[in-house]
């Protein structure tokens, strides 16, 4: 590998500019040393022809289930990080709902040790709010913080007892930790497996009403307002819930929130004839919710896009709808699917993608964004809008392929991913 890499003729995407500027980029050893209309590269520079391509800061995902330790049959940190790279993601925050749940500094360290050995991208491990995610006693918060945990969460479940959550907020606030909340009133969700409404009636599947999420979300933000803690609302699905967040934000409450690609793109109707690739928790809602969530993303209500990458084996998903586990993968597919459905069609621009899936997720994790500017770190992707991506099992690097995009062909392809002066991907 040559020391110097010359990205020639690409158009640069940035979070603060709707226009893509055609500029050459010269990278040396992990640094961007020159961004200009026409760079005169020295002899021996490796040339990457970016004619017609977009050069963008690499993506960052704050909501990923790598399944290690405990369910390595679904995913490992190694396969998960490869899926991330395949999808243009060069950093991610792993959820702690593994087996065992990551609820102490020692367990955080054990994951980081595996990551150091197996992952080609940096990984941040989040910790539990409560021991074993049981919702009763506080987890080892100071210990986890000392191992670099940026966020604590009992993701997969809400913290059911509001007093436990209140204490957790008061405590975690002094460690400058964000609490990421999975919002669900379990008693209201019951045995539900999909959104409660016309489709659940037709399919005879027990429903999860949107108010199960909305009530908990409202409660969690009110507790944050009261305690002054920073909360992050995970995977918002309902327009009414989103409106609650918007209102509290306007009041100045320290709340951030995320939306997943699937809650933007799909709704309960996609379940069709019991397709378990559309089963996740919180569930897909209605077409109206899709429209309103998309508008809220454009309006800036959502701070970040995150995938909630949730691998499951084919065996588990190839089951009846009620028995099949909740969740779909997302790392391999997120960027291309968002490009295909929204950027290519002009619904939003690369600036939004960069802001919401690269810059803001890094800020949320207390990291600096990685804009493609002179003097910046070279952590970027080259995206060719003229190529296509077919999401075959072979193409996807996740160990599981439980995604609605399986075997779909979409416009656009990530052709290179560069980090630390190295090509992590070069197609």
């Amino acid at each position: 590998m040559s020391e110097l890499i010359w990205f020639k003729g690409g158009r640069i995407a940035a979070e603060d500019s709707a226009k893509l500027e055609q500029l050459d980029v010269l990278v040396e050893g992990g640094k961007i040393i020159r961004v200009a209309e026409e760079v005169k590269a020295p002899e021996g520079a490796e040339v990457v022809d970016c004619e017609g391509c977009v050069i963008a800061p690499a993506m960052f995902d704050v909501h990923v289930h790598a399944r290690e330790p405990g369910r390595e049959d679904k995913e490992t940190i190694e396969t998960c990080s490869e899926a991330a790279i395949n999808g243009g993601v060069t950093g991610m925050v792993l959820m702690p709902n593994t087996l065992p749940a990551i609820d102490s500094g020692g367990l955080v360290q054990s994951v980081l040790d595996i990551a150091a050995e197996k992952s080609r991208i940096p990984i941040w491990q989040s910790g539990c709010i409560t021991k074993g995610r049981a919702g009763k006693e506080l987890a080892g918060i100071a210990g986890m913080k000392s191992k670099g945990v940026p966020v604590i969460t009992d993701d997969g479940d809400s913290v059911a007892d509001p007093m436990v959550l209140l204490r957790a907020m008061q405590y975690a606030k002094r460690f400058d930790l964000i609490l990421a909340m999975h919002c669900e009133v379990k008693e209201l969700s019951g045995f539900g497996a999909m959104n409660e409404g016309v489709v659940s009636y037709r399919l005879g599947i027990p429903g999860i009403p949107a108010c199960s999420e909305e009530i908990c979300l409202d409660r969690d933000i009110r507790l944050a307002q009261y305690t002054g803690a920073r909360v992050h609302i995970q995977h918002v699905t309902s327009a009414r819930g989103m409106e609650t967040i918007r209102r509290f934000k306007e009041e100045g409450v320290k709340v951030t929130c995320e939306v997943t690609p699937h809650h933007l793109l799909f709704n309960e109707e996609h379940i069709g004839d019991y397709d378990t690739h559309y089963k996740m928790n919180p569930p897909l809602r209605t077409q109206k919710d899709n429209e309103l969530l998309l508008q809220a993303l454009i309006d800036g209500v959502f701070d970040v896009i995150a995938t909630d990458h949730a691998p499951h084996t084919e065996f588990e998903k190839n089951s009846d709808f009620v028995s099949a586990p909740f969740g779909i993968t997302g790392l391999d597919t997120a960027l291309v699917s968002l490009y295909h459905h929204y950027v290519k069609t002009g619904i939003f621009g690369w600036d939004l993608l960069v802001k919401r899936y690269s810059a803001e997720p890094r800020r949320l994790t207390n990291l600096e964004p990685v804009p493609v500017v002179e003097g910046g770190v070279a952590e970027l992707i080259v995206f060719d809008p003229n190529r296509k991506t077919k999401f075959t099992r072979d193409f996807m690097k996740s160990k599981s392929s439980n995604t609605p995009f399986l075997d779909q062909e979409l416009d656009g392809q990530i052709i290179s991913v560069i980090r630390d002066g190295e090509f992590l991907l070069n197609r």
Binding site: R202, L203, G204, I205, F315, S319, D320, F321, V322, S323
Partner: protein, 315 residues
């Protein structure tokens, strides 16, 4: 059998996907089968050499027996595949079971399962014709067909006739399938039940009533009582069986009004006497419960007759 042949299907999974022509064809086909029951020899050789497998993940005596009798009268060989009904059977074991069934080269599979969508899952993976004998809260298509057949016997013109379905709509596959078929046959559908058992997302055509007074004022032609699912009381949906009977049950007083108006009574069985229906209503001459049972055999014969399994080499 019927004058115009309608193209066969491989599976019978729900009512929603059936066209009105297919429904009419099935009802028509059931007629001569019912005639057959009056003869001394009740068997026809239609399915000789074919095998029918019954696979019931939920306990059921009536439906299973009805299918067995139907298959026997078509001269098919019937096997009962014994599955555990005691524990909650997880989806995982179903896929393994499918492999086993595939190896048995059975032609028809009659399945009942507690989870909605399981018959569809099995149908996708096997060449055999799958008959849904009830899945979760989703569908019970042969019950709907026998109900439609029974209504047709008393009302040859079903257009604009009114059926009132009473009870636990939320957990009822019978309510879903039977309301769908009645609607397809041009009937008006009303439901009456406790607010906690009449589900969100029900179709707009369903007229909802919350007391008998309003429901009877609507002048239904048929009252269809659903079984109160005593076993589904792990969550409380109404305060007590006594209160249920007083508010939503067919009490003596209400039965007198039903009788006075000449309204037909139906029930999918088995009946909880004294809960959803009073004793004396069982002896009412317009109580169609026994006809429903008899018609169940005829319509299930029609369904078996109509379905065609996939080719040997197909999955």
């Amino acid at each position: 059998m019927a004058e115009t042949e309608i193209k066969s299907r491989k599976d019978l999974l729900d009512i929603e996907s059936l066209s009105i022509e297919e429904i009419e064809y099935l009802l028509k086909t059931a007629e001569p089968f019912k005639e057959l029951f009056r003869r001394s020899v009740k068997k026809v050789p239609t399915l000789r050499g074919k095998t029918v497998l019954t696979l019931f993940y939920e306990p059921s005596t009536r439906t299973r027996t009805s299918f067995e009798v139907a298959a026997n009268r078509l001269s098919a060989d019937v096997t009962n595949f014994a599955v555990s009904t005691s524990a909650v059977v997880k989806g995982e074991s179903i896929l393994d079971t499918i492999e086993t069934l595939q190896a048995m080269r059975t032609d028809y599979i009659v399945i009942r399962h507690g989870a909605s969508g399981v018959p569809a899952l099995i149908a996708k993976h096997t060449r055999a014709s799958v008959l849904n004998a009830g899945d979760g809260f989703h569908a019970h298509p042969t019950q709907a067909l026998l109900d439609a057949f029974t209504v047709r016997e008393v009302y040859p013109e079903t257009e604009q006739k009114r059926i009132l379905i009473v009870g636990d709509i939320l957990h009822s596959r019978v309510a879903r399938s039977t309301s769908t078929i009645m609607r397809k046959m041009g009937m008006e559908v009303g439901v009456l039940g406790p607010g906690s058992l009449v589900p969100e997302g029900r179709p707009d055509y369903m007229k909802s009533f919350w007391n008998w007074e309003d429901a009877l004022a609507w002048k239904p032609d048929v009252v269809y009582l659903l079984r109160v699912q005593m076993e589904r009381q792990e969550q409380q949906f109404f305060p007590s069986l006594g209160e249920y009977h007083r508010v939503y049950g067919l009490t003596s007083e209400r039965f007198k009004r039903v009788e006075g108006a000449g309204i037909y009574l139906m029930h999918p069985g088995p009946v909880n006497r004294g809960v959803e229906i009073v004793d004396e209503a069982m002896a009412y001459e317009r109580c169609l419960i026994n006809q429903q049972v008899e018609n169940g055999i005829a319509t299930r014969m029609a369904a078996l007759y109509w379905l065609k399994p996939g080719e040997e080499n197909e999955r």
